[in-house]
Symmetry: D2
Subunit: 333 residues, 4 copies
């Protein structure tokens, strides 16, 4: 049994992670930290019968574990020292924030408007997307778990880039996310009365903080419009691409053939599309596509995932399985 | 045109009140106060095109108005001085809190566990339920706008008390409320992820703070279980009563005949029940009942209202109309 | 008082229409027809206290009325004879179906794959969009009430066409609609269990039956992806356009200036977007836009309306007001 | 590996059953029948990647299986012959309808107003509630899977009956169910537009068809009010009992001690209540209680389950495990 620790167990991703790990046949949770909830149990905080104890960060003993998951809020100042300390102690780290996802410190600075807080860690980190970086993840000391929105664009677009099918490298990604994507922190944006029975766009165009990952992994120029859905789990993205004139449905299926042995990716027959219900509460990433005007190369792709599983905690377990030499799907089926 | 002022415009009741008042033919809003939003407009805060300016409390001029509405959070220390000051200045007051709803300071102290902060105001206040206290409201200087839950019990029960139909004066009120009843303040209880697609009971039995109003107005002994519904507006209460053996459907309809000229109350035919959709976004209070076992006197009543209109801001306007000598339904149809 | 008749009162658009007409100061409802519900009252079918009687078509007397609304299901064979009969009797007609929206019978045949059933009526009909065809509507005998999706594209795009701002005449319209857009007929698509807590795309690309209206009114080439939201009312469309290089925010606002006196259209400041809550239960059409890359002419527009009011029944009343010489906003504010 | 057959795979309970059985380590599905969907696969009908083939009833071979599940709509005339044929062929049967739940044919006739169609089967059937009838289920040829509403009353009340704690044997059960309880058949009652964002009571009092089971298993007299919640899964019941004066919290916990080794039942500490989120997508039955007025014996109990798992398909698998000699929790954790 491997031993793991979780920093930040009371957000939605921490909670989902614990639910996966308690069922995992080869792992045991050594500690799970919380701030205001330290001293309580998981079942005091969430609607679950799992009663994992929550401890203060000071009580978590790094020496007890082989690997840690850091599920702290974006921009927590504690993150960098914690990661450094863990790596120095020879522990492996899977981080859920967007701190280590870009490879290039200059790119980070240009996009965020401030220098990266620990460029030496940045260059060591591996982007935690097994379908693209499986070999590197196996060996990685520090894995940057991917963003949930970016996955819905990267996985459908990367095979088409590999197959050199693009005529226009500008791509429109119109994404719709459930509310759990905004986390469990209190804000009017996630207040029932401001979210239920409505729908809205936000941060449209070129400004969302996760645009960088999408462009890094695909090499494309992306126009990205996120929207907030009145559902709890799941992201569905509708993607508009202009491929080379005459690109057929068969050519696209052939490009997606690179995913044929992937345990968590399903490509639907032409003209079929996933809906959120297909993927909620699962690790499945499902995509479908429809050529719209073949001579003009116009195609629409629809992709969907559960943002808390394949889009966050489940994918982190997939990475952990690779890092610790387990079956890649262990605890995830 | 009468002139009114609103203290506390950025909660849900304040917002609904402004929406009603801007359409009211005989009233104009002289000021609407806010704390953190002072200096902004209503349309900056809510999804509305109404652009009423929001001012700090210090900028609100009591001399400008005939009547004020105080829509401040429960237990705000500013409330008592504000009400005193307004009454001394000869202004009339409709208060939305539960501070002035009980007539008896001893009853207040027994139920709340602390003395009433201004007993002299308590005895002057009128309980703002026009169907029971229309005459007193017309003359009142200070009206205590009713609670939303209590109305769903008082209106169906009071006529049966008047008609002396009860065999057992203990009544079970099982209430289900939309989330807007919990207000716009941030709390996990109103976070989308904790409310959506779930349902729960809270404060069951004899502990809810609005039990006192129900018992004061009906003289009954009430077991009250509130529940939180994943809808935005509306309360539906299912009420279990034991009437005198042999009480017939006709006798109950006769008791409800006291409401026959009420503009906002509808009693459905026997065996028909309201649902939330009947009353959402309206001033209608709708009730239906079903004798279950006539020999045993068992009857079930279902009542429904929109908690923000007949249960709060609309009823406040109804009281204002009485106080200012307008048509009782002005601005409410 | 003008007298009107409604054919098809038990669908969602018929119901909304009656709710508007009973409050309209210059109109009275002479009859409202239903099929299986004939003999009942509106309050037997819908959660309303409005008790308009529902009669069989045979009992509706065309001679009693000045104008009829036909709110029948798409493709009802009864529609054409009914419209012909009404026009011959000198009555004016507002039709809710998509039968009379295209001007050109050839265009209709090409898009639908079958000849138009009454081309002579087609050429007489006026497309019922007051903001574009106000003068023609005033005189029209037959008005084709617009589709709800098309409006969300036509109103934001037409001013930019007028101002000759397009560099690329292909436009992407990604629309998200509440479930009421699918009507009240029973289908798995509108079953709670298949719609709630999910989200899906359908008929993407070039296949939706309302594409023709959008292209006719704007002269643009449109890629259209409708999606089904788990909300009841409202449509929000996110629109991706490529304007001439260097088109500034000011130039776009100037183009939208054509709407400055429109009672039901609001253009938000640059970078602000409507959400569904702004428009639900109202006649307001709200749009906002954001230049994304000015040199490349890329812009994103977001528009929103209530599909049952500005998108259907409210707009029909707006047309009726024009046709009968009333104030355009009568009964709609 | 045991082999099982499913009759009626395209309702919600059939679908949930297949999802459980495909993961069950000791069972394989020999056939799953459908009517209009025969010839398709499960993944054509539901949002799942499970592609179990659906066959017509005529193609299902009873000889292939050890046990069948009959998940047919209530009152299907085919049910009785099918069950008879299976029992004669020596197969065991778990039936999901309410046909075999009452032991007494006279009681059935009195409650339903018509004679039981196969009284000889009725007397052979075992009520499929393992917590009360574990031994009988192991040996049963025909198990009547329980109703979902009844469970929420029987499990909390039966231990209190055993402990002889009741002062008044009339009990009020106020239940709130998600929409999936109404099944997948099309009706206005389950249309999104008639269910979403509303709440209603139906069949209140003494008329619901599942009252008989509750009274048979508890021996109490029950007043039952079901309500329809705008959620998909789960039932929460609020139960009002009058126990013997002075019944303490400890005495109640002692009565519930009979459940201490039950794998799927959790009794919360006094004053804590389940909410739907605790039980959705799980086999857990959770209950909590609160003494309200101890001298008067008044107590409120809240119970919750997932109507499709512990309330239907999961419980059927629990029964199957007992019947086939497997670990009771196999495939259910």
């Amino acid at each position: 049994m491997a031993r793991v620790g979780i920093y930040g167990a009371t957000g939605y991703t921490g909670y989902e992670l614990i639910k996966l790990l308690v069922r995992h046949p080869q792992v045991e949770i050594s500690f799970a930290t919380a701030r205001s909830a330290a001293g309580k149990r998981l079942s005091d905080i969430f609607p679950t019968l799992i009663d994992t104890p929550l401890v203060a960060v000071e009580e978590a003993n790094l020496q007890d574990v082989d690997l840690i998951f850091t599920c702290l809020p974006h921009n927590t100042p504690d993150l960098i020292p914690l990661v450094q300390q863990a790596l120095e102690a020879g522990k492996r780290v899977i981080d859920f924030s967007d701190t280590f996802r870009l490879h290039d410190a200059d790119d980070y600075e240009r996009r965020r408007g401030k220098p990266h807080p620990a460029p030496e860690l940045l260059s060591a980190a591996v982007y935690g997307l097994p379908e693209l970086h499986r070999t590197a993840i196996r060996e990685a000391r520090l894995v940057a778990n991917t963003g949930c929105y970016p996955l819905t664009a990267i996985l459908p677009l990367w095979p088409l880039v590999q197959a050199d099918l693009f005529a226009d490298r500008t791509v429109i990604v119109d994404s719709k996310s459930g509310v759990s994507g905004a986390g469990r922190s209190l804000s009017l944006k996630t207040h029932f009365g401001e979210t239920h029975e409505t729908f809205s766009a936000y941060n449209v165009g070129r400004v969302h903080r996760h645009l960088g990952e999408m462009e890094q992994e695909t090499g494309l120029h992306i126009i990205f419009s996120p929207h907030l859905l009145p559902v709890y789990r799941g992201i569905l993205s509708t993607i508009y691409v202009t491929l080379k004139p005459g690109t057929s449905s068969e050519m696209v299926h052939e490009a997606y053939n690179v995913f044929r042995d992937e345990p968590f990716i399903t490509v639907l027959p032409t003209g079929h599309f996933p809906e959120l219900r297909h993927v909620q509460q699962t690790m499945d990433f499902v995509l479908g596509f429809q050529p719209v005007e073949i001579e003009a190369g116009r195609m629409i792709i629809v992709s969907a995932l559960d943002n808390l599983l394949k889009g966050a905690s489940g994918q982190a377990v997939q990475c952990m399985n690779l890092m610790l030499g387990f079956e890649e799907t262990a605890g995830l089926k």
